[in-house]
């Protein structure tokens, strides 16, 4: 029992350095600040694509599959089951979407993706919940199995000599193409925002760019994803179902003694987790119109990172996925020069950090930050692009950086990854 009680120590007075909690007004303020900073950066560096509508539109669609994977991870881990099999579940999702999509269209593909991913979730649930296999081990096994299964089935279903699928353009590594997923553009508004964006006014045009990206040619699946994030928040944090599910990740034994069927909730969570990851995979297939071998490209792992990055909260996951999407879209759309502008932004950020650290009397840290900022400025001045490799690696570097700096503030569900057996509590 003592281990549970350790945190109950209350001192005479809290010592130094109590930290402020991140409340929603604060978060909004931070986002607003970030927007101002980015538009300043855009104005200074002249990298107009930094805040263009096209950039944000692309960022949005790059963020969706990652965000869905991260949200899937959140469901599973909130119930206490680590899900490193997200990648495999995404593969199953994109495969199923490709398989159903070319015959029945994109909506059926999305549904199939959900089912395909859920199937992967089911396997994970059986292994971890019923058989008590280590979660990471099971996840790795699922990734291997999903890869093998999708590749094999693709040869049978898409690439069989003389089959209808092959005639429709399928092959061993790719499904036949499906029709377009409808998109929506808010008429009038989109053009108006586009017009404002064209003027490159400070802040106004940038805001127009962001909003324009959100109302121009957006896939309905993207909208669905936004709904899923909001829905997840309400379901997990504002309903009794969510309370029970989260209690399984925090204290399954307590939940059990209160009549919660922990197995059932873990199963449900892992199934939903797989379904969401599957939808993420389906989104990939639908947006390029076919399933393709290797399509997920590690996005399941990135999703996992955004979930940790987002502190196991939907808002955080969305933010993390948005960042990844933004970086991804930027490097794809305009490559080195735009990322080059970010050097300046990073330098400003580091300079700010140096000031804050200096005020907290942490000289060494302040000095390191200041030097790094100076190096970045010099680099920025002496070059007009950054190597493509650095751009490619930037999302991963950013994740490492964030985790290294803020991991202490992250809080995983308490019973995560721990084996749970019904009736074996003491």
């Amino acid at each position: 029992m003592s281990s549970e009680l350790k945190s109950a120590v209350r001192p005479a007075a809290p010592a130094t350095g109590g930290r402020r909690k991140l409340t929603y007004p604060w978060i909004l303020l931070i986002i607003a600040g970030a927007l101002v900073a980015v538009s300043a950066l855009r104005a200074v560096s002249g990298a107009t694509d930094l805040t263009s509508g096209g950039q944000f539109g692309a960022a949005l669609s790059a963020a969706v599959p990652i965000g869905l994977a991260g949200l899937g991870g959140l469901w599973s881990e909130r119930s206490g089951v680590i899900n490193i099999g997200l990648e495999g579940m995404m593969m199953l999702g994109s495969f199923a979407a490709g398989w159903v999509g070319w015959q029945h269209g994109p909506w059926a593909a999305a549904a199939a993706g959900i089912l395909g991913g859920a199937l992967g979730g089911l396997v994970h649930a059986v292994a971890t919940v019923t058989f008590g296999v280590d979660h990471i081990v099971s996840g790795v096994a699922i990734n291997i199995l999903a890869l093998g299964a999708t590749q094999y089935l693709a040869t049978l279903w898409f690439g069989q000599e003389g089959s209808a699928a092959m005639a429709a353009g399928g092959n061993d590594k790719q499904s036949p193409p499906m029709s377009d997923m409808p998109t929506f553009t808010v008429p009038g508004l989109a053009d108006w925002l586009n017009g404002i964006e064209g003027h490159h006014w400070f802040l106004v045009s940038d805001l127009a760019g962001v909003l324009g990206g959100a109302v121009t040619g957006v896939s309905w699946l993207t909208l669905l994803t936004v709904g899923l994030f909001v829905g997840t928040f309400f379901l997990l944090w504002r309903s009794s179902f969510g309370l029970r599910l989260r209690s399984c990740g925090e204290a399954p034994l307590s939940a059990e003694t209160l009549g919660v069927n922990v197995y059932a909730y873990k199963y449900a969570a892992v199934l939903v987790s797989g379904a969401l990851a599957g939808l993420g995979g389906a989104f990939l297939a639908i947006s390029v119109h076919f399933y393709q071998d290797g399509q997920t490209g590690g996005r399941g792992y990135i999703g996992l990172a955004t979930m940790i990055f987002g502190n196991w909260r939907p808002g955080g996951v969305a933010l993390g996925a948005g960042l990844f999407g933004f970086m991804d879209a930027m490097q794809l759309r305009s490559g080195g020069p735009t990322v080059h502008a970010l050097l300046l932004g990073l330098a400003a950020l580091l300079a700010g950090l140096a000031l804050v650290r200096l005020r907290a009397a942490k000289r060494a840290q302040a000095a390191v930050a200041a030097v790094a900022a100076a190096v970045l400025v010099v680099w920025y001045a002496l070059s007009d692009s950054v190597p493509l490799e650095l751009v490619e690696a930037s999302p991963y570097l950013a994740t490492l950086l964030v985790l290294a700096l803020f991991s202490q503030r992250l809080r995983a569900p308490k019973a995560i990854g721990k084996p749970y057996r019904r009736g074996q509590g003491h």
Partner: protein, 321 residues
């Protein structure tokens, strides 16, 4: 125990074709090679066996594949793609009686036929057409992976544009610096093309394998913009039928011709060996005309073609940096 070769000695079994990772239906050079063997099957009556590479293969895997062909009596044995360069060279030594062919690479060996293509020359013509058709005088090139082969496409295209319209701007970008994923990521190509289109580029030439479908799709959404296809005549590909009205032309690499030539030479017991360059002159590369979208600029394209064939224009293989 007994070795497999001893147990499975065979006579002439047919043509062995070993594909690169893309597989036989990659809408690209693997597919073209397959087409060549198909023609040989029809016209020469040879049997054909095809095997495909897996992701993450080693040299030994490829050698094993070629060896199993040779052991089973297939002749010629053809490796499609430069990945087979080293393995063909190694295996050819062990089977002097078998003719080996390889596409896109120049391994050495007495019994090896190296089939290489002048992609830069074909791309030059695409550059000419693009320069003439662009209304914004801004054209783009998307490479799948920044390697030597794809740089040939880029170099030729840029030179063609510049020689035709000195004012025109060419933006060349790669999806991945160094990752074969680049030939396999249409979503990335789509985003990249979108970015180019947003910046006013109206013609995009993609040399990115399967990823090209993504950029073609992005182009198809913009009125007045054109895509240029690669390797095969992409106007005619069933998977891209929906976008064919936006495919200006394609730089076609006639791998099928090369493969057919090799098979035929073997059937006639005069197997080709050494390096065979399939360039513009020998019909190894060409600019497709399906759809008739370049009919209006055909004279200029033909003129450029003639200059290259006659040696008046020398097309570079590496882009000016």
């Amino acid at each position: 125990g007994q070795s497999f070769a001893e147990a499975n000695r065979a006579k002439h079994a047919g043509v062995g074709l070993a594909f690169d990772i893309g597989g036989r239906d990659d809408h690209s050079f693997n597919e073209a090679a397959a087409r060549g063997t198909e023609n040989a099957r029809k016209q020469l009556g040879v049997k054909v066996k095809m095997l495909t590479a897996k992701n993450g293969e080693t040299e030994a895997d490829r050698e094993q594949r070629l060896t199993s062909f040779a052991e089973a009596g297939y002749n010629p044995v053809i490796g499609v793609g430069f990945a087979y360069s080293q393995s063909v060279q190694n295996v050819a030594k062990d089977f002097p009686g078998t003719t080996f062919g390889v596409v896109d690479a120049v391994p050495t060996g007495k019994n090896v036929d190296a089939m290489v293509f002048a992609e830069h020359e074909g791309s030059y013509l695409a550059g000419v057409a693009a320069a003439l058709k662009s209304k914004t005088h801004k054209v783009g090139f998307i490479g799948g992976v920044n390697n030597a082969l794809i740089q040939k496409f880029q170099a030729g295209f840029e030179q063609g544009v510049r020689d035709t319209d000195p004012k025109a701007k060419v933006v060349s970008q790669y999806l991945y610096p160094n990752n074969d994923k680049g030939f396999n990521d249409p979503a990335a190509a789509k985003a990249k093309a979108q970015g180019m289109l947003d910046s006013g580029i109206d013609i995009i030439y993609s040399a990115a394998g399967q990823s090209g479908a993504g950029s073609i799709e992005a182009v198809s959404k913009v009125k007045g913009a054109w895509a240029i296809g690669v390797d095969s005549d992409q106007y005619r590909q069933p998977g891209l039928a929906r976008y064919k009205d936006h495919i200006l032309t394609s730089v076609v690499k006639n791998v099928d011709v090369a493969v057919f030539d090799l098979i035929k030479s073997c059937e006639q017991h005069k197997p080709l060996t050494g390096i065979h360059t399939y360039d513009l002159k020998h019909g190894g590369v060409s600019l497709a005309t399906s759809g008739g979208f370049i009919t209006d600029v055909q004279p200029q394209v033909d003129a450029a073609r003639k200059k290259i064939i006659e040696g008046q224009v020398k097309v570079k293989e590496t882009p000016k940096s």
